[in-house]
């Protein structure tokens, strides 16, 4: 057995360590509470491993810089919180349509606007899904322990590379700032995915041409010797703009389908004590920690309650939510917002079971006790 390293680590630190393990070599951003430690630590760590850190003039420049770096072949990340996440939306769309892999971290705080800078919230669930305009699909992940932040950040990079798409890594103030034990094994094998590069002749390269049966084009880096054009306009296989309706439809559908048709590969979730459950709590991020404690309290009192915790928020684990609704009579969605994920859970599970919401929007983490009371009152 290789030696285990045990450390006390903050969620934000684990995010940087995970990103570096995944191969991040570039970070650009504009620091904002409660994500600032991600920028600070990236600034400290990246130059030492041959990477680059740039503090940009604002959030828009931050995401624009990482898109540029990624097009040059470098795995890149930016991190922010609500106000910055709003500013980055336009460029998230640009990364989607140009199929540029990158990771955007949003450590959520109270909103709207500058809101509650130092307090947790989960109000950006729908913004992660639909914040940028136009029809599109998106991958958004949401870890709830420090260990999971590390693993999920690696996964965010892998999915970004595999599907050539921006991946949103959601956290909240509690997950980002909380410190807890994290164990590393020296010999731990980490699966790293790198984008597929073309091996055709440079003059034959079409940057957005997909092979038969494939939905993700091979990606050359600027500097590799392949010439290509990148635009936010609808484009053909050549990368140049076109208004051709067939091309437009095919592109929009492919961008959507490359994610939606791979839901089984992308979706990750945890089921806790659901085997014999009559009531299921649905919760993610820090709220899921409260929900887990609530499940334990209710179990001790003899109630058959379990937890379904999505780690992949988008695309949604629709199949699993349907199965869940066939199994339990009552589903309670607990989240630090007015009921955002609830709407989606209700859409899928609402036909077969009673779906309720329990929320809180005052900047305080929902407690196990209040979840317990809500469930008992029902």
């Amino acid at each position: 057995m290789a030696e285990k390293k045990v450390k006390l680590m903050q969620g934000n630190e684990a995010c940087v360590e995970g990103a570096i393990a995944a191969g991040m070599k570039f970070y650009a951003g504009y620091p904002i509470t409660p994500s600032t430690e991600i920028a600070e630590l990236s600034a400290e760590r990246l130059p030492r491993i041959g990477g680059k850190f740039i503090q940009m003039e604002d959030e828009i420049a931050g995401i624009s810089a990482i898109i540029g770096a990624s097009l040059a072949g470098t795995k890149s990340m930016t991190a922010t919180s609500g106000p910055g996440f709003s500013l980055k939306q336009e460029s998230i769309g640009y990364a989607i349509i140009t199929e540029t892999p990158c990771v955007i971290v949003n450590v959520q705080r109270g909103g709207p606007s500058t809101g509650l800078p130092t307090s947790p919230a989960q109000g950006d669930i729908m913004q992660a899904r639909w914040g940028t305009h136009g029809d599109h699909s998106i991958i958004a992940l949401y870890p709830s322990t420090v260990r999971e932040v590390y693993d999920t950040t690696i996964r965010a990079f892998n999915l970004a590379e595999k599907y050539r798409t921006p991946v949103i890594l959601l956290m909240d103030e509690v997950v980002g700032h909380m410190r807890e034990k994290i164990e590393f094994r020296e010999d731990q094998e980490i699966e790293i995915v790198n984008r597929r590069k073309p091996n055709c002749l440079p003059e034959e390269y079409k940057p957005y041409k997909v092979k038969e049966g494939d939905l993700v084009p091979e990606m050359a880096a600027f500097g590799d010797g392949y010439r290509f054009h990148v635009t936010g306009l609808v484009h053909s296989e050549t990368g140049f703009p076109t208004g051709n309706e067939k091309v437009a439809e095919a592109l929009t559908k492919r961008l959507f389908n490359k994610i939606e048709e791979n839901v089984d590969d992308i979706v990750e979730y945890e089921e806790y004590l659901l085997d014999d459950a009559e009531i299921a709590i649905v919760a993610y991020g820090s709220t899921a920690r409260s929900a887990k404690s609530a499940v334990e309290i209710l179990r001790e009192e003899g109630m058959k309650v379990g937890l379904f915790r999505p780690i992949t928020i988008w695309p949604m684990a629709e199949k699993q939510f349907l199965q869940l609704s066939n199994k339990v009579d009552r589903i309670v969605v607990v989240e630090m917002n007015m009921g955002q994920y609830f709407l989606e859970v209700d859409r899928i599970s609402g036909k077969n079971s009673k779906v309720e919401k329990y929320g809180r929007v005052n900047g305080e983490l929902i407690t196990p006790e209040e979840i317990v009371s809500f469930i008992k009152e029902g």
């Binding site: 450390k7 130092t118 509690v174 410190r179 807890e180 034990k181 409260s290 006790e369």
Partner: protein
């Protein structure tokens, strides 16, 4: 003790978050599970600040303090704000600068001059957090002494090791010299 919840409260700039981190790292050295969290206002100094540490043999899910076992309050504001969260039978460590004492009969109160010891005896107000850790240790033994010392030395700036060891020692002494233990009243 299976699970212990500590809350270190005061004002921003007193080093309480660092104290929480040190305590958490000490618990880690002891082989326990631990979660440390904090809350603070948008201002860099002043304003209410608190650090929380939960130490447990088991997995810790809910990461915040619910039934506070040990409360440290370095300011009046912090004491007023968090006194109700201290569970019955819990321990309150109060800085002697806190003049309006809480009216609770069901807790153990230790009033000790933490801030004064740091600024007067040690001549460095900034080590108040380490003095506080010394007192917390002496009173509660939530972590082992070796682990605490190791954790303190790993976190303080180079060149200040001796000062911080001394600060810990002063923290121990504040409790050792605190003869009476009073229930429900302030000594």
């Amino acid at each position: 003790m299976e699970r212990q919840e500590l809350r270190l409260s005061g004002s921003g700039g007193q080093g309480l978050i660092l104290a929480g981190i040190i305590l958490a790292e000490a618990a880690l050295h002891d082989g326990k599970n631990v979660v440390q969290s904090q809350s603070y206002g948008p201002e860099a100094r002043g304003g209410a600040s608190k650090a929380e540490v939960i130490i447990s043999q088991k997995e810790i899910n809910y990461p915040k303090v619910e039934d506070c076992d040990i409360l440290l309050s370095l300011t009046q504001v912090a004491c007023n704000k968090y006194i109700d969260s201290l569970k019955s039978g819990g321990i309150l460590i109060l800085d002697s600068s806190v003049t309006i004492k809480p009216e609770r009969e069901d807790i153990v109160v230790y009033t000790v001059p933490i801030l004064e010891t740091a600024s007067e005896s040690l001549g460095k107000p900034m080590v108040a957090n380490i003095v506080a850790l010394g007192s917390i240790f002496e009173l509660t033994k939530v972590v082992s002494r070796d682990s605490l010392e190791k954790a303190v030395l790993a976190r303080v700036p180079r060149g200040t090791e001796e000062l911080n060891k001394q600060a810990l020692e002063e923290g121990f002494n504040l409790i050792k010299n605190h003869k009476e233990v009073c229930y429900g009243e302030v000594c």
